[in-house]
């Protein structure tokens, strides 16, 4: 009754910040500034150029790599393992999470085991994995899934149980079947949690795959980075580091795009 119909005051900073040019000009200028600063500091040897090659040289090295065969192979190696790891950890985490979320006694029974395994840094398993699985991409896959699985599992359990009591009451009063209740209420309320955990899993899996490539020396972006360093070619090393950053941005973007597609066809789910 005391509501004011006028739209909520815009969250401060109206006016100037909304100029369309500024959105684009400021960040671009900032990036240009950073790059020129780096170029300046390395050209003047304030930063030793044998460790820190100027940005222009890194860029040249990057262009040079584009023609070679190392780059597509490395990129494909990393990305294909990443995609497998993401899919496996999300599917496995969601399915088991939903099951544990619905069957409370089972979850209570397994909780200590989960709580103990979850914080084990998966890289600690690298030596074991090398001995048992070997140095192929399966090892990286296992490590990435082991790290990301828990990040999906826990939110899935919480999400399934986050269904609003009123929604559950409604389901009961309309005599929903068990499946209807799970399908339309509990899975729906899990969606926002799933979205967050997929985002987390995207970067976690990528980190672990690159780590495995660096430590186990299996082919991929991480391997090219360490190889360039030991071969005394820092420009190439930075080019691959930048490439891993670009890959990360593209992957995050893809995941967000997929999210918005799902959100537009299925609605946003329970929690606002």
């Amino acid at each position: 009754m005391t509501a004011v119909v006028a739209p909520a005051p815009p969250k401060c900073r109206s006016g100037t910040a909304s100029l369309p040019g500024r959105r684009f000009v400021l960040p671009t200028a900032f990036i240009a500034f950073l790059i020129s600063l780096q170029e300046l500091l390395t050209r003047t040897e304030v930063l030793p150029s044998n460790y820190f090659p100027p940005a222009s040289e890194i860029f040249t090295a990057f262009i040079g790599e584009l023609g070679g065969s190392a780059l597509p192979d490395a990129l494909f190696g990393t990305l294909s393992t990443w995609l497998q790891a993401l899919v496996i950890s999300v599917v496995l985490g969601t399915v088991i999470g939903v099951l544990l979320g619905l069957v409370v006694p089972l979850e209570a029974f397994l909780r200590p085991v989960i709580e103990f395994l979850r914080p084990v840094p998966s890289v600690a398993l690298i030596p074991l994995v090398v001995l048992t699985i070997g140095t192929g991409s399966d090892s990286a896959l296992f490590l990435a899934v082991f790290a990301a699985f828990w990040q999906v599992l826990i939110p899935a359990i919480v999400g399934v149980r986050s269904a609003h009591p009123v929604a559950l009451e409604t389901a009961r009063s309309y005599n929903f079947t068990l499946w209807q209740r799970i399908r339309y209420i509990q899975l729906a309320s899990m969606m926002p949690y799933l979205v967050t955990s997929i985002r987390l899993a995207t970067s976690t899996t990528l980190i672990l795959i690159v780590t495995a490539e660096i430590i186990i020396q299996m082919p991929g972006l991480g391997y090219e980075i360490t190889m360039s360093r030991s071969a005394g070619n820092p420009a190439r090393m930075y080019a691959y580091i930048a490439l891993s950053g670009i890959a990360g941005i593209v992957l995050n973007g893809l995941v967000r795009w997929a999210e918005s597609r799902v959100a537009s066809t299925h609605g946003k789910g329970g929690k606002q």
């Binding site: 009754m1 005391t2 509501a3 004011v4 119909v5 006028a6 739209p7 005051p9 909304s18």
Partner: protein, 261 residues
């Protein structure tokens, strides 16, 4: 003392802009208790935000003692409707009252004295070391009022301050406000949608229309102070004034476009 002249406030929206307040003009005298009353959907809160300097006006001006208001002036204190959010939940009641005083020129001893007397004034001397959530809604709003008194403003601005408390507490808080004003002589600008409250408290009541809102009429309330919940409200003049204000607002609501209903 406080002059609002030809004020307009437009919010940018996707479809061009929404004008909440337009052509608003009035002035408030020193020591006055001036109330703005209007139907839900009138830009009352917007108006208050602009006067208190929390929002910029789109056109026209707000001047206080000859100075244009841009940004919250030191001489104003605001009591918000939503006490739960306007008090900081993580610090004690006393600290909440003290926080605005923690700047140069006020010694620790004076701060402590001001905090203690302000809380005494609102009847919460015992609650100093409690956290806001441990108090009832009405008591939390008392803390907010104490915070405003301790700040010693020239103008006390109140945005529907008693709208979220129960009726009995509301009457108590109204009387608390009248008593404080009696003792300090502070100018009060009060916003409400409750007609009885506006007539009971004020020297003058400004009725504002729906948005884009402007002053519809300013009604003098010549009822004598000190006022009393029972005696004042049973005066025939009170009934006449109340009926008049209520009638104006009813008219506005019923003549509004069907879309707004």
């Amino acid at each position: 003392m406080l002059i609002v002249s030809d004020m307009e406030k437009t919010y940018p929206t996707k479809s061009g802009g929404f004008t909440a307040v337009s052509g608003m003009s009035f002035h408030i005298e020193e020591g006055e208790l001036f109330t703005i009353v209007g139907p839900s959907g009138a830009g009352k809160t917007t108006l208050l935000r602009c006067i208190s300097g929390l929002d910029d006006v789109t056109a026209g001006s707000v001047t206080f003692n000859g100075q244009q208001v841009s940004g919250p002036p030191r001489e104003f204190a605001v009591v918000f409707q939503d006490y739960a959010r306007s008090l900081m939940p993580w610090i004690t009641v006393a600290k909440n009252v003290e926080l605005p005083l923690m700047k140069k020129g006020i010694s620790a001893a004076e701060r402590a004295q001001r905090v203690a007397s302000a809380l005494e004034e609102v009847g919460l001397a015992d609650a100093m070391e409690k956290k806001p959530f441990q108090l009832s809604g009405g008591m939390q709003q008392r803390v907010a009022i104490a915070r405003a008194i301790a700040y010693r403003p020239q103008v006390l601005i109140m945005d529907e301050p008693f709208a979220s408390v129960d009726a009995q507490t509301r009457a108590d808080l109204e009387d608390l406000l009248l008593r404080i004003r009696e003792e300090t002589g502070t100018t009060v600008l009060f916003v409400t949608h409750d007609v009885d409250e506006s007539v009971y408290l004020s020297n003058r009541v400004a009725i504002v229309s729906r948005s884009p809102s402007r002053i519809d009429e300013i009604v003098d309330i010549p009822l004598p102070y000190p006022r009393d919940q029972i005696r004042t409200k049973s005066l025939p003049e009170f009934a006449t004034l109340r009926t008049h204000v209520f009638g104006r607002i009813r008219e506005m609501v019923s003549t509004a476009t069907p879309m707004a209903a």
